[in-house]
Symmetry: C2
Subunit: 200 residues, 2 copies
Amino acid sequence: MPQPIDFYFDFASPYGYLASRKIDGIAARYDREVTWRPFLLGIVFKIVGTGPMFDYPLKSDYFLRDLPRSARRLGIPATLPPGSPHNTIPAARAFYWLKDQDPAMAKAFAQRVYNRFFEDGADVSSPEATAEIAAEIGADGDQVLAALQDQKVKDRLRDEVDAAIENSVFGSPYFIVDGEPFWGSDRLDQVEDWLKTGGW
Amino acid sequence: MPQPIDFYFDFASPYGYLASRKIDGIAARYDREVTWRPFLLGIVFKIVGTGPMFDYPLKSDYFLRDLPRSARRLGIPATLPPGSPHNTIPAARAFYWLKDQDPAMAKAFAQRVYNRFFEDGADVSSPEATAEIAAEIGADGDQVLAALQDQKVKDRLRDEVDAAIENSVFGSPYFIVDGEPFWGSDRLDQVEDWLKTGGW
């Protein structure tokens, strides 16, 4: 049985969103599963010494142009939510809480969060918005709100972020295919080639 | 007559080197010329607030893996010169000094500098190494060494760097195709599609 592909992403990462719309389809063509692994880019930025792309002069203007252009080329709708950066702790905590009960539900939740953020351009970073999205895919919204404050759930996410850093994940999206790391939605074609050929 | 493609790069940029081996061929398929525009990434970094990729933990390890992997995929030999960052002021000054006499010679010089840096993995950042490479393509090495200290030549490069920043160039390689900016050797396929389709 081949290993699943690790797909690391931050819920506020627009290029992570683009990748989220493609990675399962690519993996399926090579009979692979994808393990979705939300993490917190803000914590990684502190370690690496970088920051959100929208914080940099010149670069930020470029991203505002590159993102919709790359999205159109991939045939994916893309709208940026207002403001930045967005707090993605609630969504990431809810994801792992859901995952420990039902991995398929967690993935459906993640897809819905991403689509609300970047297809609809809605700011869904609050605990309430997170709970609402979880409720839309069948979870109990009140339980989600309670879980977000639960120390065990907080620790669960912290462990996942620590593990991401252990695995040298420094950006979003970030893929690991059979031990080989790929950073960025613009590496999806390399990810696919790697799956096809086993490496080059 | 369609506009030339602007190709901005720093001589110490390995991804700029990868792009340098591809951009003229891509442009030629669409009857386009390429204007090579070396600039100084170090000055841009100060404005943008970023730094050389090898300065960042985690990221630097990734680049050491991604660069040869991307090079192999493009069928381009790639070896990193020892040390970093490299001073690319001599090569950039010599380029514009040569260009004002003979643009074709300047491009041949730039290709040779890049190939010495990243095909051979040699540190050719010194004025002497720069003059030697210029001599290999038919320039007078002593004249090159003198030009590198000439205030007019220094100002010429400064003006080019200022113009690059005016055009929002913040990384290497960076392309402008009919006003449309593309950053990174991983945007070469988008550059080609843009030339083919006129945009999307």
